[in-house]
Amino acid sequence: MLSPDEAADRIEAIAARQDRAAFADLFRHYAPRVKAFLMRGGTDAETAQEVAQEALILVWRKAASFDRSRASAATWIFAIARNKRIDLARRAGRPAIETEDWLTVFAPEVEDADKSVLAGQTYSRVKELLGGLSTDQLVVIKKAFFEDKTHAAIAEELGLPLGTVKSRIRLALGRLRDALEKEQS
């Protein structure tokens, strides 16, 4: 297992000295996870394997753009894998998305006044709070992330009114917001 801090150290080691051992640690931890994540959404094993490898190669290429004060390693790698998946869906004659564009978290237009909260803290709390969501909320959140479906498509698939799905999403995010903002204020 790789803790969030250890994973961030590995990415910084790649940026500092093209550290292949650090890359191997990240690959062992994250490549199978990216693959499993994509397969949950219905991607076939071969494609999922390919996307996982491309995502980890991007981790190597873009390691110098990683900023641990903005995002945890898991968050950063999720964003890379997500965008690889978007590229894949649009592959037919489409230009790839610029990495710098899609890592919105890492390139805010205006510097946020309050950067007192460390990304690692947000990540750890979000991870804990995810376990505290209701089953109804988790079903919608997981479908959204794993299956890459809009909330409207999820409502249709589950046979639920659009308003019900919206309110589950808002309640789930509201719980995260309340918990994080109470601690951070």
Partner: protein, 216 residues
């Protein structure tokens, strides 16, 4: 500080990568300009990271060896300096820059407003930048499909409120609306439309056939 943030469910659609390129561009500009939207996206992406980390799967040593061999020819890249906006386009947020080719420029449309049409490959939305002189209004119109608006310069007011830089608006649906640009700088906004608008004013009605045929 912006006062109109996109709803949670739309930010979720954006964070998971489920949106078509047009709406995704609108959300990316909103997130670039609105600190509150950015905070929500940070949390959603952290959620994605947590779900990713929760997966359990054995390491694949063969795939690792194969990938390590590839790295011999792949350098670790220096961070790229953000591209610079050309003169007159300083208001362009970073995610929009690469969609604005150097040959693209304002085109005068009816009613005293200007437009730049953006063509996003593989997207069926009508994606435009609109520029409205201070105090000028768009013709009264209504929408039959979804409409997303992000203000990039200046501001406008309609029956639903006042919108400033970074604000996000979802089309008011079938009701008519008549946005008026605020005093000061011209109002520039990105508009993403699922269907052409329907002009409903006494003069606008005659223009609908042109709108439908995409002539204006």
């Amino acid at each position: 500080m912006s006062r109109h943030t996109a709803p949670d469910e739309l930010l979720l659609d954006y964070a998971t990568g489920a949106l078509a390129p047009g709406p995704a561009l609108a959300l990316s500009l909103h997130v670039a300009l609105d600190a509150r939207a950015r905070r929500i996206i940070e949390r959603l992406e952290a959620m994605g990271g947590a779900l990713l980390d929760d997966e359990a799967a054995p390491a694949d040593e063969a795939a690792l060896r194969h990938t390590l061999a590839l790295l011999d020819t792949i350098p670790v890249e220096r961070p790229v300096a953000p591209p610079i906006a050309r003169p007159g386009f300083e208001w362009v947020p970073r995610p929009l820059l690469r969609h604005l080719g150097s040959e693209m420029n304002w085109r005068r449309v009816l009613g005293g407003f200007d437009e730049i049409r953006l063509h996003l490959p593989g997207d069926r939305h009508r994606v435009s930048l609109l520029r409205l002189a201070p105090g000028r209004g768009l013709p009264v119109h209504r929408h039959e499909g979804e409409e997303y608006t992000v203000v990039l310069q200046g501001g406008y007011t309609d029956a639903t409120g006042n919108y400033a830089v970074g604000d996000f608006a979802i089309g008011p649906g079938p009701e008519e609306h008549e946005p008026i640009a605020d005093a000061g700088e011209p109002c520039i906004a990105l508009i993403v439309l699922e269907q052409p608008i329907v002009l409903t004013g006494p003069f606008g009605r005659w223009l609908n056939p042109l709108v439908k045929r995409d002539l204006i």
